[in-house]
Symmetry: C2
Subunit: 146 residues, 2 copies
């Protein structure tokens, strides 16, 4: 039997979250965290709504997933996020010791991948999944702001 | 008139916060954020109590100060923190565009200062204030854990 629950399925869930951010006039970034094929956290960027620069989708996802697990380490979990994590989120993911990160669009300006050693050596990083769809959402948002 | 409200005064307030963390068996790091000589946020590390790797003193201080101000940018504010900010906190402080960061002990392992470009170019960074007292608190904590 082919499982419908593959990387693309989870990234589409993260995209649904990004659309929720867009509806709130937030920079449209969404994330989910998955453990044992189950989504244990669904979040989207809320920096404007919460007046808080730390309220990126990934930060909220880490807090939410830790609450679900009842522990602060996210070994065995995968984060799916529509935009490459920034330095702050990369640093947070380091502390969480998350197993795997799959992101959509690359962040050329502030992506954690620009620096060696931001991520935990245990963490596997994969970029570019549904890149076009994830990136187009953000590009369209910024174009509408000009 | 000599103002009692100088950098050392505020760092001592951050140290009081670090002691509160210690009482909760948390890694003893404390922070305050100051605007117009007024402390607008007082926080300490709560990663164990909250089961959340993102609950560093600085992250909570940013959220708390933004709440106080009612805006997400911390221009005109100074953060006093007993330990050098890590990569996550340095990345968060970048987004906040905080005016100035004064830290106590250096973090040789995970300090944001190890990487060029983590902090915002607008932000002034000063390290080493009450370094001995700030560092000794953390060293004693870790010795007691061995």
């Amino acid at each position: 039997m082919i499982s419908p629950y593959n990387d693309e399925y989870y990234m589409k869930q993260a995209l649904l979250e990004a659309h929720k951010a867009l509806e709130k006039d937030e920079i449209p970034v969404g994330a989910v965290i998955v453990a044992n094929q189950q989504i244990i956290a669904r979040t989207h960027n809320l920096t404007e709504c919460l007046n808080d620069t730390t309220a990126h989708a990934e930060m909220q996802a880490i807090t939410s997933a830790s609450g679900h697990i009842g522990g602060k380490y996210l070994g065995g979990c995968t984060l799916y996020v529509t935009l490459e994590p920034c330095v702050m989120c990369g640093g947070a993911l380091y502390w969480s010791q998350i197993d795997r990160i799959v992101f959509g669009a690359k962040d050329e300006k502030r992506g954690a991948g620009r620096y060696a050693g931001i991520y935990h050596p245990k963490t596997k990083i994969e970029g570019g999944l549904l890149e076009e769809e994830c990136g187009e959402l953000i590009r369209t948002f910024f174009k509408s702001k000009r």
